[in-house]
Amino acid sequence: MQKNKLSESLVAAVLVAPFIVVYGWMFVYPTFQMVQLSFTNAPLIGPGVWIGFENYTRMFADKVFQTAVWNTAYFVLLTVAPGTAVALVIALMVSRLKGWTQSVILSTFFLPFVLPVTVVYLIWDWMLNVQFGILQHVIAPIVGRPINVWRAIPWFMPSAAILTIWWTNGFSILLFLAGLRNIPKDLYEAASLDGATRWQMFSRITWPLIWPVTVLCLTIQLILQLKIFDQVYLFARGGRTQATMVLVQYIYEQAFQNNSGGYASAIAVALFVIVVAFSVLQFQLLRIRRAS
């Protein structure tokens, strides 16, 4: 198109400027600052002295850091694959419904996703309340006594995982529904004419064709749950927070309670590396599957 290159660039500059300013100031700059600080011993506010890789060596030896990594991994294990499986089952079920039945039932499954984490916390805190929580009526008969799940270490993560799955499943269900909708019905009709059983139809048609969506869900969930903070922080308050520490929580604690800006940044960088590693892994996995 015939236009003046300079004026085009000027107009473009005006249009992107607000975004670039905010993005640069609130995203790009903090990212660089995070990396830079990780090599210093800076406190929360104020500059520090360059100490090279000291923060990192300290981090690898730090027992709490190791706990945080382990807990985060444990949480991921408890939520990502099970959550995706639950979402797939629900999606399979909902996809067969029609009309407003489907609409209503879908909204029910999705509604928790639009709620703030604090509301979810309050609801489940109430339901699991060791004295008066209604879920204790389910737990007590099985275990023998009511359990304060948020103070009993073995129960903490699984409970947090269950409510997280309840909370975030709607997202994955939507994705699966969209994916299932894209499978042409004729494939199933042809298979049923060939005498395929329900299981065969699932394993030979549905599962392979939905694989890209499955991978997508898994990785989105994975990257999401690696950054877990809110639920764990809220439920662990007042108890032994160190035992259930997760990575982002450790960043927060080191920065705001220990006043160690530099060390906190190092942990943040570690988290960043882990997330990037998994993102790249996803990309490769998806590519390999597509090629095969």
Partner: protein
């Protein structure tokens, strides 16, 4: 002085040269068609006049001023797009008035001008509808209306009828012709359909791979094609071609030996003739059917397929030179397998040399 002029324009996309050193002039008030197969560069030329494509080198003039670097909106041109490009979220009225409202023309003036255009194109009842509610032909008229309301110096059409069905297309052709008569604006019209070009244009520019093959009035191109490309492109059904060898020459008359052994004489146009082989072109309507083995026949052939169109009959005749398409009068009683002789009208036939130019 041409009203629209392209001087020595070249268009390059990266390393690919689409148009090279082309020059073209369009007279004021004329209806000029840019005709050619897809990829010949006709749309590119149109868009260069519009200002939608940058001219790599060369110049463009409209109404005497150079517009090579001028933005489209300031060239005094308006364009009707192939897919109409009507704004789907605006009513017909708002679509037509869009350019006026961008220029902050007062509402009363907008309404008046839209009203005039709407009555010219019979759109009055559709003004409050959205494009999605209109038929193809109606959308086409709205697209024309949007261009018309700007009172442009030059109207540009980019294959506007190609998305319409056959019946609608003929109807719209007549409307476009009437429009041109009515507003008398210079119009440049791009199409790959030679029937559209022949019926609408007073001048046709035939393009082939980025070069001008021939410029002339429809009948000029039809009766005196300058080269094999134009000869094969214009006219429907297409011209028949077959090789022949020169056996003699006397003045303008050239004697030829045809495949199958017969001979024919064709009048050449000039003195370009070289000895040896030429290619002969004969339009289907310039073959005459006669009895097989008749005197003066150019070919003996067997009738293959017969197509009865009512007003004419198309015969696909197998001859020594391959299949010839012959157009005869309507309601002809012939059958497949009949043997016939074909005579050539030697005043209306053409010869082309090795360089594909007319001889």
């Amino acid at each position: 002085m041409p009203y629209v002029e392209l001087k020595n324009v070249t268009k390059r996309y990266g390393n690919v040269e689409v148009i090279n050193g082309l020059s073209l002039g369009v007279e004021e008030g004329s209806f000029t068609a840019l005709l050619g197969p897809s990829g010949c560069g006709k749309s590119t030329l149109l868009r260069m006049v519009a200002g939608l494509e940058e001219i790599t080198s060369g110049q463009c003039f409209i109404a005497g001023s150079e517009v090579t670097k001028t933005p489209p909106a300031q060239r005094g041109v308006a364009m009707v797009f192939q897919n109409y490009a009507l704004y789907p979220h605006l009513t017909v009225r708002q679509n037509i008035a869009f350019s006026l409202s961008l220029a902050r023309v007062p509402r009363a003036v907008q309404d008046e001008r839209v009203g005039r255009v709407a009555s010219l194109l019979q759109l009055e009842e559709l003004l409050e509808r959205r494009p999605a509610q209109l038929s193809g032909g109606q959308r086409q008229r709205v697209a024309i209306g949007r261009a018309l309301v700007r009172d442009p110096n030059v109207f540009l059409f980019d294959e506007p009828l190609s998305n319409l069905d056959a019946a609608l297309r003929s109807q719209m052709r007549v409307e476009l012709a009437k429009l041109h008569q009515e507003v008398k604006t210079t119009m440049i019209y791009v199409t790959h359909d030679q029937v559209e070009a022949m019926t609408l244009a007073d001048r046709i520019v035939v393009l082939d791979k980025g070069n001008i093959s021939q410029v002339g009035s429809p009948l000029e191109l039809y009766n005196m094609p300058a080269n094999r490309f134009v000869a094969s492109f214009i006219g429907s059904p297409a011209m028949n071609f077959f090789p022949a060898t020169v056996s003699g020459k006397s003045g303008r008359d050239v004697a030829l030996t045809l495949p199958g052994g017969h001979s024919a004489t064709i009048i050449s146009r000039g003195d370009r003739l070289a000895d040896g082989g030429v290619e002969v072109g004969v339009r289907p309507e310039h073959f005459k059917l006669g009895d097989a083995g008749g005197a003066g026949a150019a070919f003996d052939g067997t009738i293959g397929i017969v197509e009865q169109l009512g007003n004419s009959t198309l015969l696909y005749v197998d001859t020594a030179a391959g299949q010839m398409i012959v157009e005869a009068e309507g309601n002809l009683q012939v059958a497949s397998g009949e043997k016939v002789g074909l005579t050539i009208d030697h005043t209306r036939s053409h010869m082309f040399g090795q360089d594909a130019q007319a001889i």
